[in-house]
Assembly symmetry: C2
Homo-oligomer: 121 residues x 2
């Protein structure tokens, strides 16, 4: 029940594609992450996932098109929809995510980027 | 699955204490609202509620203390905890909320401020 400063949380780590949990609300969690380059194509069969861009430009690739998100924009990736976030020109993009607790961020895809436990910060 | 611009959504209405739904993620909804002055004391018996301040300074009053939130800060109000948001000096504060679909924003309190249906924008 304390105030959480998103920028302070982001300053506490530097790894890319490594989600950090900053809050839990009902059965969902709030996560921050730093993204750079391309992630892995994956889907979450049972969970929707929300991305909010805090800094930079995120490109959310779907199978049939790509959505461009600037800071202050959000997108909901519905369950079952294959997606792959990517940043361009070596830009580090900061995002806040809302998703179910216990979700695997690489969904149905095992990757060298897969992180089993999200640090709580 | 389209990009949602939070500022554009906020520009589309002016009423205070009137939540507008901009997205649904699993069984939770993303809401934006403009706050000015004091709300009503209430609690949500079964639901946690997240506030993210987008503009201005929000004061979240609890029975034993008040938390001050600036833009870029979030707070989770746990289920069962009495609270009352307030803004100072006539400031209009913009917030994004993350809460269960179907929740009553005034919780257990009926008020002239109670809105039954959140417009979807």
């Amino acid at each position: 029940m304390n105030t959480i400063n998103i920028q302070q949380k982001l300053k506490s780590f530097s790894a890319h594609w490594h989600p950090h949990q900053i809050a839990v609300v009902n059965d969902m969690q709030v996560i921050v992450a730093k993204l750079k380059g391309e992630f892995v194509w994956h889907q979450h069969d049972e969970e929707d996932e929300l991305f909010q861009v805090l800094r930079g430009t995120l490109y959310m690739q779907f199978e049939d098109r790509t959505e461009k998100l600037e800071a202050g924009e959000i997108i909901v990736v519905p369950r079952g929809v294959k997606h792959c976030p990517i940043t361009k020109d070596d830009e580090e993009v900061h995002v806040l995510l809302f998703e179910k607790t216990g979700i695997k961020h690489t969904g149905n895809t095992e990757s060298t980027l897969t992180v089993k436990d999200y640090p709580k910060i």
